[in-house]
Symmetry: C2
Subunit: 139 residues, 2 copies
């Protein structure tokens, strides 16, 4: 059902100090940078082999990531698993009785299609599924 970990999402106050860590010290390549207004973030994707780190800085305090930062500070925010057919996967998850935030896919970063599960349905872990724009590959 899940082909790999697509990315981990990391909540940060500011992108530049986080880039000094992930790009400069960890030597990861920046693959993409985008303001995702719908989610209230500016996001940067860095490559780790075929996986990614997604840095998430809130556009303002009254956004999901802004509230996350106010509550528990910077750190791991979510995990995303890659799928090749997001509709079929959502159907399987629904049949398994999992509570979904998104019953239908919505547009994510870099033209991907994404859906989130309720953390209460996934052991406190905010869990996302992602179908990349190209139909299965991240690159």
């Amino acid at each position: 059902m899940f082909s790999r970990i697509d990315h981990i999402g990391v909540a940060v106050e500011e992108l530049e100090p986080a880039l000094e860590l992930y790009r400069d010290k960890f030597q990861l390549t920046v693959a993409h940078r985008e303001v995702v207004s719908e989610q209230g973030v500016e996001a940067v994707l860095l490559d780790v082999g075929e996986n990614h780190v997604e840095l998430l800085a809130p556009l303002d305090a009254d956004t999901p990531v802004g509230r996350f930062l106010a509550k528990q500070g910077p750190g791991l925010h979510h995990v995303a698993y890659q799928v090749s057919d997001i509709e079929a996967t959502l159907e399987k998850l629904k049949q398994a009785g999992l509570a979904l935030i998104d019953e239908q896919p919505r547009t994510g970063i870099r033209g991907s299609r994404v859906a989130f599960m309720h953390p209460r349905a996934s052991g406190g872990v905010l869990t996302e599924i992602v179908q990349p724009a190209s139909g299965g590959e991240t690159h």
Copy 2:
């Protein structure tokens, strides 16, 4: 420096309900199960392509994962990046000025060699590097 996300570590109160989610609903294959006394956990590794989910249940309340659960409940605990030469990577991270919990590698799950960075040095994210026992591959 990092070849992939080796695993995400997920703190759970009990392994069985977590396995019902990850093994039965997400349909991930259980690859390994081990009591890691030194870290005070019983851990289960599940395969997600070449990546893994590591479920961590504390052996008792007075352990790092036990204290994590008491403080913030179940959820994402750490991320681990895979490396092929852990000594060389630790040297690079030290030269980059990163604070390490483990200056020298120690034994992790499934005979791997692991080291942790201080979360304060890595933007609030507990970050581990892992050299698998076979010298670079997880399988």
